[in-house]
């Protein structure tokens, strides 16, 4: 058990390193309004964060991460470009694994800026990389933006694309949707019968609740339209699968992705961004071409990231969670900023794990 005071000192030390890199130290409150987090992450958030309440302010959550409050702070009064650092406890409800900490320190570094996203990606990654270097960790990288671009590029309806986009972070549901849109999964019997009926509402009985008959008919029409839509081609499904199975060193990955882009040009721009990033990383002294790259990395856990994603793992300690994680979250700034948005990338280190593994640079 590492001493808490020691972890706090290590957190302060790491934050000072980011301050030296020009980041402004910021603080956020520990109690966060629950509504914002629930709207972003949905009901699952309740399984991952501690919820409390009072009669005046309603439901609040013990800060499950810093990113959301830091983005809110920036969107309401931040100047551009900006870089921030912070250190403090976060709280994660653990109902299934008693060995996982439910309260721990995080030190973070976030860059908000419109110019040269590849440089910002490379800077966040390389600063964390250099700090953690003495620990001999494995770095995993990925890019959710490539899969998103592939979905946008499918030759199918906007409605199908929206459904796929909505479930990009739920791999099982995403797969089920692909199977249905590609005509691989049978149409549920009840749906087939419904679409055959001349007056679908004839035997519906009383319409109760907020969702009215007009909403039901709107969906039935959408289902009819979808039933008349040709399936996503086997060829396109194979290309999606090819993207999802890319898992090699970055230089090989980029070759594979360029091959795929010949048949799926929609991903070209995001593959170019990956190439720019690798170049920017090399310029910062990282052997980027040999970094592990996995196109589906981060899909299951990192739901606000929509571009570059990364994590650092202690391979000798598979029982430990990642020592550091981060990525790009442009869409989050859009969701929290009303009509405004700003490209943003950041990462967090867990000082408690750093100490446990022997200390960082």
């Amino acid at each position: 058990m590492t001493d808490r005071a020691e972890v706090r000192r290590e957190a302060a030390r790491l934050r000072a390193l980011f301050e030296n890199a020009g980041a402004r130290p910021v603080e956020t409150t520990i109690l966060q309004p629950a509504e914002v987090l629930l709207d972003l992450y949905g009901e699952d958030m309740r399984a991952r964060a501690y919820v409390t309440s009072d009669a005046l302010r309603g439901e609040q959550m013990l800060r499950p991460d810093f990113t959301v409050p830091v983005v809110q702070m920036h969107m309401s009064d931040g100047a551009e470009p900006a870089r921030y650092t912070y250190a403090g406890e976060i709280f994660r409800r653990q109902e299934d694994d008693p060995d996982r900490a439910n309260e721990y320190f995080q030190v973070g570094f976030e860059i908000f800026g419109r110019d040269t996203p590849a440089m910002a990606d490379a800077e966040v990654f390389s600063r964390i990389f250099n700090i953690l270097k003495p620990l001999g960790l494995r770095a995993a990288t990925g890019d959710i933006g490539i899969l998103m671009a592939a979905v946008e590029g499918l030759r199918t309806t906007a409605r199908r694309k929206a459904a796929l986009r909505r479930h990009i972070w739920r791999p099982r549901r995403f797969r089920a949707l692909i199977d249905r849109f590609a005509g691989r999964a049978p149409v549920p019997a009840a749906r087939a019968a419904l679409l055959d009926r001349a007056d679908p509402m004839a035997a519906a009985g009383p319409v109760i609740g907020l969702r009215g008959e007009e909403e039901i008919m709107t969906r039935i029409n959408a289902l009819k339209e979808d039933a008349a839509t040709p399936p996503i081609s086997e060829n396109e499904v194979a290309l999606l699968d090819a993207i999802l199975s890319v898992r090699e060193t970055s230089d090989n990955a980029i070759e594979r992705l360029r091959d795929i882009a010949v048949d799926l040009p929609a991903i070209s721009a995001s593959v170019d961004r990956l190439a720019d990033r690798l170049e920017a990383l090399e310029a910062r002294g990282i052997a980027a071409r040999t970094l592990d790259f996995e196109a589906s990395y981060g899909r299951a856990q990192m739901e606000y990231y929509d571009g570059f994603v990364f994590g650092f793992y202690a391979e000798s300690r598979p029982d430990l969670p990642p020592v550091a994680t981060g990525g790009r979250y442009d869409a989050l700034t859009r969701q929290l900023g009303g009509s405004r948005e700003i490209p943003a990338v950041g990462g967090v280190i867990r000082p408690g794990l750093v100490l446990k593994l022997g200390g960082a640079a």
Partner: protein, 231 residues
């Protein structure tokens, strides 16, 4: 030391539990007046009867304050994280059957499976500006089930009773509740989803993995379980 057996303190669940033990030669009964929550055990020595609300039995088992307990498997799964590391399921008692199901208005002719519910939840949120509400008291079970099945854009609203009425009252769009025959659902113009069975529950005898036992206690427990043919 004696071992403690926790049993629901009232109603059909208590009576059926008494019958189940009685059929195996162990007589359980309530001592004193109807209002007094203490009981007796005949047919075996060193077993104490503890009468508790069925909803509290999971907690008491997990804390090790009772060695054995009878309650619904739904309650154990809802209230105990990692339930199988904290209690052992010894025997299903064959009564108190109930299914935890997801139900939507019968008039939603366009919704028959979870896939539909997910799509409707997305459209509902866009249209009404808030997430589709599902009324339940089984928050953990429902949330886990919906996560596993990739349903998003919903919210759970707490309902501790008369849950079937919440849709008509417009405090929820769907419900997740215990049903035995489905009659109440039908009477309230609701229908279950084809793949909306979250859990099948019945009265079950559980053993606490946390309760301390000395040698005498262990012997008593062994003897009791042999009598119940549940070892």
């Amino acid at each position: 030391m004696s071992i403690k057996l926790g049993v629901p303190s009232k109603g059909r669940l208590m009576e059926k539990t008494f019958d189940w033990f009685g059929a195996r030669g162990i007589t359980l009964g309530r001592a004193g007046s109807e209002r007094e929550y203490s009981g007796y055990v005949q047919g075996i020595d060193n077993v104490d009867l503890v009468l508790l609300s069925a909803g509290e039995i999971p907690r008491e088992l997990a804390a090790g304050r009772i060695h054995l307990g009878v309650t619904g498997s739904d309650l154990v799964r809802e209230k105990l994280g990692q339930w199988h590391t904290r209690v052992e399921e010894l025997a299903e008692l064959g009564f108190g059957h109930a299914d935890l199901v997801l139900a939507v208005p019968a008039a939603w002719v366009d919704v028959s499976v979870l896939d539909d519910l997910d799509a409707v939840a997305a459209a509902f949120r866009t249209r009404h500006g808030f997430r589709l509400r599902i009324a339940t008291k089984y928050h953990r079970l429902v949330r886990e089930f919906l996560r596993e099945n990739g349903v998003a854009d919903y919210q759970l609203v707490d309902s501790q009773g008369a849950t079937e009425g919440t849709v008509k009252n417009e405090t929820a769009e769907a419900i997740a509740d215990i049903t035995s025959s489905g009659d109440t659902l039908r009477a309230n113009h609701l229908k279950t989803l084809e793949d909306g069975l979250i859990l099948q529950s019945q009265a079950t005898l559980f053993r606490s993995r946390a309760a301390a036992l000395d040698e005498g206690g262990r012997a008593t427990l062994g003897a009791l379980l042999r009598r119940l043919s549940a070892d």
